[in-house]
């Protein structure tokens, strides 16, 4: 019984880690190239979720609504880059960070105005809310589907960044912007690509996260993006493998601590997670996979 409970919790933690990892990838790609910590990335989750819910209530089947919602989230990412971030390209890191807060505040308040601040139920199909049994182990179908979808996306992403010219250019640009320009790499196109990938992944997270929580609200993106940010810092800010690793690490620690801590300490789970991460960063200030921060121009 104890072992089965542990296995259940591990599957649960990997599934939530998957969502953090997908979020962290988007943050890492954009940070790698622009040195921009895009806190508005979380609001893309919200955009994708509301778009899915809206299209679903308008009568589209859930999966089609979800697919369109994810694409709308991708589109929102492109618009965000074009409207908010391109005009301040090359500004100081602080100016970019403040801009990302401004985008967050704008999007969240826009959503409050349109949809009101109260949460809405997010109805997902039965297949996402079933319990699958393997012997004595009971896991939710949503956890398994989340893990499966994430694995497929990670494989596709790896093929993209390792094999395609655009993917290799993306890695090159995030390492040395000037050298990339001297090669003739179209940096604008690469930046837009990074935003598209990141915001499509955020859209996927939106759908899976909402199905998990069962309701959505305009501020729903804040907590996941914060966790994903911490995950990407722990993994090594700007590194895609680091982001994936950090995302999973965070999810696993979160759920395992929840499961293993005595019940009177369980509410302080996040505090314990962050204590562990702070200790980790004391020993590896650049994150697990981060190299010694090289100067970037």
């Amino acid at each position: 019984m104890q072992l089965e409970y542990l296995v259940q919790q591990i599957i649960n933690s990997v599934s939530i880690g998957s969502l953090y990892a997908l979020m962290a990838i988007g943050l890492a790609m954009v940070f790698g190239i622009l040195r921009l910590i895009n806190f508005a990335h979380g609001d893309l989750i919200m955009v994708g979720s509301y778009a899915t819910l809206l299209l679903n209530t308008l009568g589209l089947p859930f999966w089609i609504a979800a697919l369109l919602g994810i694409l709308i989230s991708g589109l929102a990412g492109v618009v965000m880059e074009r409207v908010a971030y391109r005009p301040i390209r090359g500004a100081s890191d602080v100016a970019m960070l403040l801009t990302s807060f401004a985008v967050t505040i704008f999007l969240e308040n826009l959503a409050v105005m349109i949809f009101r601040a109260t949460s809405r139920p997010f109805a997902s199909p039965v297949i996402l809310s079933q319990v699958v049994k393997f012997g004595g182990i009971r896991v939710s179908s949503l956890s398994l589907i989340s893990i499966g979808i994430t694995l497929v996306l990670l494989v596709l992403l790896t093929i993209f960044v390792k094999r395609t010219e655009t993917g290799i250019s993306l890695r090159a640009t995030s390492q040395d912007l000037i050298a990339a320009r001297l090669m003739g790499i179209n940096v604008n196109r690469i930046i837009v690509t990074a935003f598209i990938i990141g915001s499509v992944l955020a859209g996927v997270v939106g759908v899976l996260w909402s199905a998990r929580v069962g309701k959505i609200d305009p501020l729903m993106g804040f907590q996941p993006v914060l966790k994903a940010f911490v995950g990407s810092v722990v993994g090594g800010l700007g590194s895609i493998p680091g982001a994936i690793l950090g995302g999973y690490l965070l999810g696993i620690m979160e759920i395992l601590l929840q499961a293993l801590l005595p019940s009177n300490l369980a509410p302080y789970r996040d505090a314990f997670v962050f204590i562990i991460l702070i200790i980790l960063l004391l020993f590896r200030p650049n994150g697990i996979l981060g190299t010694t921060a090289k100067e970037k121009i």
Binding site: E165, R171, A179, L182, M183
Partner: protein
Amino acid sequence: MLKIEDLHIYYGHVHALKGITLEIQDGELVALLGPNGAGKSTTLMGISGIVSLRSGTIQYDGMDISKKDPQEIVELGIIHSPEGRRIFGNLSVLENLRMGAVRRRDKSSLKKDMEEVFSLFPILEKRQHQAGGTLSGGEQQMLAIGRALIAKPRLLMLDEPSLGLAPLVVKEIFTVIKGLHEKGVTILLVEQNARQALRIADRSYLLETGSIALTGTKAEMANNPEIEKIYLSRADEGSVQNAT
């Protein structure tokens, strides 16, 4: 081929280039010399479109390219191998070379061109799957030159290819540059290693604090006492600064 007239560049309030005029003919190897901070790299960055010009013109085959962005300039065949090599450290040697071909229209001959680079620098073939950042300084310089060659330059601009390399490697790099020149590649070579550069350059320009102090053909430069005075003494000073 390339004609620069009265080029001025500022970095903020710093007047980095104070009216440079220079010309490169088809097939020439032209050296741009001068002590640290004279404006050599800035000149190349201006030609590549990385830094914007305050005034002056850059003509390439009679076309004004001073307002073009780096991407268009690469497409025109002006390829700039920057100071400090700027290899993509996390990319493999092959991937680095592939980045040289981003703007090429004919990618069919890419494999053949890679083999040509490998025959020029056999060590790169051995290291082709290794990350660029794990190569030695000399190997990285070879990769930087190889990456530029993959782009099929009509004008190859090399910025300090000998910087920080062991004498034997410097010799090898210079032999390759000379070989490229003999094969007909037009080269603009920026060097603080003046002696070596003067030996292989058809013509040279000597920059001092943002202006051209001296220019001449190989023969004229060879016996010019001014060079010693302006440059060589200060180059030692410069290399001391580099080392510290």
